[in-house]
Amino acid sequence: MSTVELILAIASVLISAFALFASAYAVLTISRGRDKAYRQKYYEFLRQKERVEQRIVDARDHQST
């Protein structure tokens, strides 16, 4: 095995192992139902976004009147 092949093999194995670890971690998160906590965070983010958009609309209405 040449040096180039060795470097390729090490880089591929390390990054593939890291990506597989990340995938397994995500699968565990889903299977344990932890994604529901993230969903609550997502809803909170959407509520904040709605509030900001409503404030902008209210400010525009106030300016026009």
Binding site: S2, E5, A19, A22, Y25, T29, Y43, K49
Partner: protein, 153 residues
């Protein structure tokens, strides 16, 4: 619980729709360059394993799935940033994307410098395939997780 959900979420696609989009726009469309190469060679009657070995187009699939999953993660950063899962997925996809780009560069360098090195070319092809499969899995899991979080239920 349904009453707590904000109005805006009715615009978000359901789980199946997001996954179908991932399959069509990432997997199938990203395989077009490789499919075209193989089709052209088969039309010319020169389709062989050597053609596959000399085709770095499989790396386009790796780049495409990583880039789109990174974009999806970036869009989820306002509510996921700081989570360990977000960081791990982000860096796995980012490092995979960089390695795929390096592999593509090595394919081109090998073609320019010494196109007749079958060992290096075979090793490049093997590791590029492994990386592509792993990045496809990682990207799919990322999209599945984000779809479950953002889908209406």
């Amino acid at each position: 619980m349904v009453a707590d959900q904000p109005q805006i979420q009715s615009k978000t696609p359901v789980l199946g729709e997001k996954l179908a989009r991932w399959v069509v726009f990432n997997l199938i469309l990203a395989l077009f360059p490789l499919g075209t190469t193989l089709f052209v060679h088969s039309l010319a009657g020169k389709l062989s394993y050597q053609v596959l070995l000399n085709s770095p187009e499989i790396l386009f699939l790796a780049l495409m799935v990583s880039a789109t999953a990174l974009r999806d993660l970036y869009e989820a950063s306002p509510f996921l940033r700081g989570e360990v899962l977000y960081t791990v997925l982000y860096y796995a996809l980012f490092l995979g994307l960089i390695l795929a780009a390096v592999f593509y560069g090595l394919f081109v360098l090998d073609s320019v410098n010494n196109p007749s090195t079958p060992e290096v070319r075979a090793a490049l092809f093997k590791y590029a395939n492994i990386l592509t499969v792993v990045l496809c899995v990682c990207s799919f899991i990322t999209v599945l997780l984000l779809s479950r979080i953002e889908s209406r239920k």
